[in-house]
């Protein structure tokens, strides 16, 4: 069973994000980038499926050459090969554009896949659009936000946690599945893996190679403003005897916070 996993390089979830107001994007200076955590779960799931059923795992990312580090990490985890679709355009937040690029890459480069795995969303942009859009563009069945996945021959069963219940979806392959945290615990790379990954070449594919025309990759979305959320105010500490403190608290909740 051949699996493609689509991954993105994102700012570390612990990084302090600063906004560059001139370009309306986040400033990359001094922040650490990682493989998007949901994508990491997707890669892990692909590796486990391959370990159980054979086949290959190919990891694909769209981005500039910085994304090579992210792909190397996937190779170190155990992916068989990785491909970078080179895109020099800075972050567009245009999900449809990325989905078109990915769908085209699948058609042109990986015609014999059985499963396309995604993270349920990338952290950072958090649009959660791409898996669904790619499925639609390729006319495939899709199951999103999956917490358990079983594959048997040409059929799959995916579990989803929905409000107050567990939903079981059965589908036929090929299909699109997006991973939720909890689907598995991603492994740590081993040093052997990292060293083997270093030796692997990562082919770089251009839009031209994929036959994508300029108008097909023009972003249709423009970010007009990017701002940090307002700073949280420091909590208020009331120091007094319990009885007196309780009175002050009620007064505060009533008059200032206007909650009661």
């Amino acid at each position: 069973m051949n699996i493609c996993v689509f991954v993105k390089r994102v700012p570390d979830t612990e990084a302090k994000i600063r906004i560059d107001h001139e370009t309306n994007s986040i400033s990359e200076e001094g922040i650490n980038f990682i493989l998007s955590p949901y994508d990491e779960v997707a890669v892990e799931e692909a590796l486990r499926l391959r370990e159980a059923n054979g086949g290959t795992v190919t990891v694909v990312s769209v981005g500039n050459e910085e994304a090579l580090t992210t792909l190397k990490k996937c190779l170190a985890m155990g992916a068989d090969e990785a491909v970078l679709v080179k895109d020099e355009t800075p972050e567009t937040y245009d999900g449809l554009r990325t989905a078109k690029i990915l769908a085209r890459a699948v058609e042109k480069r990986f015609p014999d896949y059985s499963l396309l795995l995604f993270g349920k969303q990338s952290v950072g942009a958090d649009n959660a659009q791409i898996p669904a859009m790619v499925a639609d563009l390729l006319n495939l069945p899709q199951v999103n936000v999956v917490t358990k996945l079983e594959i048997d021959g040409n059929k799959g069963i995916a579990h989803r946690e929905i409000e107050g219940a567990l939903e079981k979806v059965s589908f036929s392959l090929p299909a699109v599945v997006s991973a939720q945290k909890g689907l598995n615990e991603p492994r740590y790379e081993t040093l052997k893996g990292i060293m083997a990954a270093k030796k692997k070449e990562i082919p770089i594919v251009t839009f031209e190679d994929l036959g994508l025309k300029e108008e097909e990759v023009t972003p249709l979305l423009e970010i007009t403003k990017l701002e940090s959320p307002p700073q949280r105010q420091a909590g208020k500490i009331i120091e007094d005897e319990p009885e007196e403190a309780a009175k002050q608290m009620v007064k505060f909740l009533h008059e200032e916070a206007k909650i009661i």
Binding site: D12, E14, E189, T190, L191, K198, E239
Partner: protein, 472 residues
């Protein structure tokens, strides 16, 4: 010989620190009666707690206490493991918690000036915001700068970067008589008279109260990586360390941890350690100035470990993964604390570690008591935990009190004797405090102890500052 804290003294001190910074309410003083040493029978209530905000207030408090013959115990974050901040003779606990200002991060001199009550975590944050690095990493971040200096704290990164002592350049100290002295400064060098700065560092609050410190910082290393290396035998893991040192590889930290405590901590934290193989792990942290360098270093380390029989080498390189691994390592104490009688802090030449740990295992078998042992494998500092339990089939089995009480004494004695035979000392980083003082003569000459006592008398003729610590 000491006087009680009278109403009159309370009133005088209220004028010095203000009403809100003083308490003698028994309930509120409970917190001030102990530190992190696990057996509560050394706890002792103070008669009064004061929390000065300025150096002059500290001086005023000590002056008064010295005149009135009331003992004073300085207190930082109370994370100490030897009862150092416990007011053994009652009297006043002087808590530095309100002196928590970061006065300056001086980029040109690469030094910070801070008050003694700044916590380690606040300090790290300020240093990081300034784009710099403070290498020592003692395990408990609520410890305060004053306490870290008073114990000469160490931590896992001592292998490469040394201990707190190596970073303290200047101190403001209030002497037991109430005078304020200034030692060192923003200086890289000084050969000007006796080095009293280093005498104060590690003096466990018996010679003076530290109110301010000038601390050396460093540029941050660019990349860090943690390697988790499983072995099927403890000896093989520990024996890897001298090999690394011979090959001139200098990691930031090398910790050895047995699987049993990892499993208990995983359970306790509901977190997962990177691998399940083996029975012992080495946790090696590397730092370097580039990705290529760290790859090269990791490869060398991995090769050496595999030569010694390591089962594999796992890598945590994202900050989050490194944090997860470190978190499990540093919360082991919390996970096993309820059964811990004492954490030993033996420091021996690092080439002796394997043999000492073997002795610990023998003692454990002989007395049928669980002695989980882990620690800083490359700097010779071994933390054997004496437990009031056995460890059987992956479970902690409590021992009855009359059983562990006699075993506790015997185990301590045997291990301290082994420490002495290997020319070690009984504390590498936690200090002597109350709980280790009866063993001081195991490892120090009588004359040395007499000299120390003489120094104490000179600084504190009335013996009012932290009496009953280090020695009687």
């Amino acid at each position: 010989m000491y006087k009680k804290v009278t109403q009159e003294i309370i009133e005088k001190l209220e004028k010095v620190v203000g009403q809100k910074n003083l308490t003698h309410d028994r309930e509120k003083m409970e917190d001030y009666s102990h530190d992190e040493f696990s057996l509560k029978d050394i706890a002792k209530f103070p008669e009064l707690v004061v929390k000065p905000e300025k150096t002059e207030e500290v001086a005023e408090i000590l002056r008064l206490a010295n005149t009135e013959m009331v003992p004073v115990t300085p207190r930082g974050g109370a994370t100490g493991l030897t009862g150092g901040c416990v007011p053994l003779y009652g009297g006043i606990v002087l808590s530095l918690e309100n002196m928590n200002r970061i006065l300056e991060v001086d980029l040109d001199n690469q030094m910070a000036v801070v008050e003694a009550g700044v916590t380690l975590s606040e300090f790290y944050q300020a240093v990081e915001e300034a784009g710099l690095f403070f290498p020592p990493h003692p395990g408990e971040e609520s410890a305060m700068i004053g306490g870290l200096i008073a114990t000469n704290a160490g931590g896992a990164r001592a292998v490469k970067y040394g201990v707190i002592r190596n970073y303290i350049r200047g101190l403001e100290v209030v002497l037991p008589t109430g005078s304020v002295i200034h030692l060192g400064g923003k200086l890289m060098k000084s050969s000007t008279g006796y080095n009293l700065l280093n005498l104060i560092i590690g003096s466990e609050g018996t010679l003076g109260v530290v109110t301010q410190a000038t601390i050396q910082l460093m540029p941050s290393p660019r990349v860090m990586r943690s390697l988790i290396i499983p072995y099927d035998e403890l000896e093989k893991a520990i024996e890897t360390v001298p090999l690394l040192i011979r090959k001139r590889i200098l990691p930031l930290a090398v910790e050895f941890v047995p699987k049993d405590v990892i499993q208990i901590t995983e359970e306790f934290l509901k977190k997962r350690w990177p691998c399940t193989q083996g029975s012992t792990y080495l946790l090696i942290i590397l730092d370097a100035s580039s990705e290529d360098e760290i790859d090269r270093l990791s490869e060398e380390v991995a090769e050496t470990c595999m030569e010694k029989g390591a089962l594999d080498v796992y890598v945590a390189d994202s900050p989050k993964k490194q944090e997860e691994v470190l978190d499990i390592r540093s919360k082991i104490y919390e996970a096993i604390k309820s059964h811990t009688l004492e954490v030993l802090d033996i420091s021996i030449p690092r080439a002796e570690i394997a043999r000492h740990v073997k002795k610990v295992q023998e003692v454990s078998q002989k007395y049928k008591i669980w002695l989980p042992t882990f620690g800083h494998a490359a700097d010779g500092n071994v933390h054997t935990h004496i437990m009031s339990a056995r460890f059987e089939g992956g479970k902690i089995v409590s021992l009855p009190e009359e059983e562990w009480k006699t075993k506790f004494e015997k185990v301590r004695e045997e291990l301290y004797k082994d420490c002495r035979n290997r020319r070690g000392v009984i504390s590498g980083e936690h200090g002597i405090g109350i709980v280790k003082k009866s063993y001081l003569s195991y490892v120090l000459d009588e004359e040395t102890i007499e000299l120390m006592k003489g120094i104490k008398r000179h600084f504190d003729p009335q013996n009012i500052l932290n009496p009953g610590k280090i020695f009687d």
